[in-house]
Amino acid sequence: MPDPLVARLKTMIVETLKLPDVRAEDIPEDEPLFGNTRLGLDSLDALELVLRLEKEFGIKIGNSEESRRALASVSTLAAFIRARQPAAS
């Protein structure tokens, strides 16, 4: 059964980063999100996404190293959010 948090995160990625040619459902869950040549996202995209995540889920990411670990993939991001915001779905 599709994970609603994962689906929501994928939609947020497309919306926040303004990816015109990418469909949310095509974003892989377990592949690297950044430095991935298929998606073409980089560390600035990651930070922009962090800004949206902090607002949306009320979480806080303290530094760039924590950001890099949390956003390694959509799956790790979902796990990161759930660990800090158990009500997130």
Binding site: D42, L47, L51, S64
Partner: protein, 370 residues
């Protein structure tokens, strides 16, 4: 890939800076005593926000209609030798990363249009010029954290190609919520105090207010700027080539220019991890015996003015006979060449002073002295 170094030397006729510790001599003394100018301040200033390390002249990051950098700039400028500054033969080069951009944010807060009168780089430089009585020949340079180095290099070229008799390089960068919030959003201006070149789990920078000036002339002087090297990676806005080639480009050029001299290195060392590691390694490889220091763990990163502020501090340290170590640094460092404690100046012939910036810009020069 190696940067080509401008070989012509420029004599330093006068040089000083202003930091939260005071002038260059007071700043060098404070660094030698291991003091930190950085302290926690709310990132949005009067609007609060997360605490981040800032080193502020005057202690508060507000943005009144009269910009808070104007009075310190005036105070510093009293020490500039008399000259026809801003004339064709004695031009001014103003360098800053932010100029008056904090005023733009101040306008959005209180809607006082007077802030906008000095919000752009040229308007801030013009305001400064009117305040200090400069003529029209004021070059305005802005390239983030290598700006002061660029200003000094441009001044050297103006002198050696006969376009000027003397050049005043004036540099200033004062922190504002505009700037602090930006670096905080990049997740590099965090709660922790910076520890330049420290092999930690996470990095953080501090930001600081700074202003400085140098008067350069073509004639030799006891203090000289030599062999400026510049390079631009153009790899990414906020990260460097992972192989360190950008750092190596200037380091190798400096090593060639400094051959035969015993040098110490004043690095960039803001407290970020990846860039700090690449920088330390590049200097270690190019100068295996040279100690590497950074003062941003105390003064914070004074952004576009850092190259000239730290040059003034270096000169003051040489006069005092002792060079401050990496204040705020901690063991273990990325590489063995990082000097945490002070150094005796007598052991060296020259210094390499270096800065790096967004976009993978790198700038270095040799500070030679009699």
């Amino acid at each position: 890939m190696t940067a080509n170094a401008d070989a012509a030397a420029a004599g330093v006729e006068a040089l000083d800076c202003l930091t939260p510790f005071g002038d260059a001599a007071a700043t060098a003394a404070a660094l030698l005593a291991g003091r930190r100018a950085l302290a926690p301040h709310p990132v949005l200033g009067p609007d609060g926000g997360d605490p981040v390390p800032l080193a502020l002249i005057g202690g508060a990051m507000d943005e009144p209609v009269t910009p808070r950098w104007l009075a310190p700039a005036r105070e510093l400028a009293r020490r500039i030798p008399a000259g026809d500054w801003g004339s064709a033969r004695e031009p001014v080069v103003v360098t800053s990363s932010n100029f008056g951009v904090g005023a733009m944010h101040a306008f959005t807060r209180d809607r006082d249009a007077r802030h906008l009168a000095h919000g752009t780089p040229f308007a801030a430089a013009a305001r400064l010029g009117r305040e200090l009585g400069w003529g029209e020949h004021v070059h305005v340079l802005s390239h983030a954290c290598v700006t002061a180095h660029l200003g000094l290099a441009l001044a050297g070229r103006l002198l050696h190609r006969g376009f000027a008799n003397r050049v005043l390089v004036f540099s200033f960068d004062f922190v504002s919520p505009f700037v602090a919030a930006g670096f905080h959003s990049l997740k590099i201006l965090n709660a922790a105090m910076p520890a330049p070149f420290a092999a930690r789990d996470s990095g953080s920078i501090g930001l600081g207010d700074g202003a400085a000036f140098a008067v350069l002339a073509a004639a030799p002087a006891p203090l000289r700027l030599e062999a400026a090297a510049l390079h631009n990676e153009m790899h990414h806005f906020t990260s460097n080539r992972p192989d360190g080639a950008g750092f190596t480009a200037c380091a190798v050029a400096m090593a060639a220019a400094a051959r035969g001299r015993r040098v110490w290195i004043k690095g960039h060392g803001t407290g970020t991890l990846e860039a700090g590691r690449l920088e330390a390694e590049a200097w270690r490889q190019a100068f295996p015996d040279a100690p590497l220091v950074s003062w941003k763990g105390s003064l914070g990163h004074t952004l576009g003015s850092c190259g000239l502020v730290e040059l003034a501090v270096a000169a003051a340290a040489l006069r005092a006979g002792r060079i401050p170590g990496t204040v705020g640094g901690e063991a273990p460092s990325f590489t063995a060449n990082v000097a945490l404690g002070p150094l005796a100046a007598a052991g060296f012939d020259a210094a390499v002073l270096s800065a790096n910036a967004f976009g993978g810009a790198h700038a270095s020069f040799i500070l030679a002295h009699d």
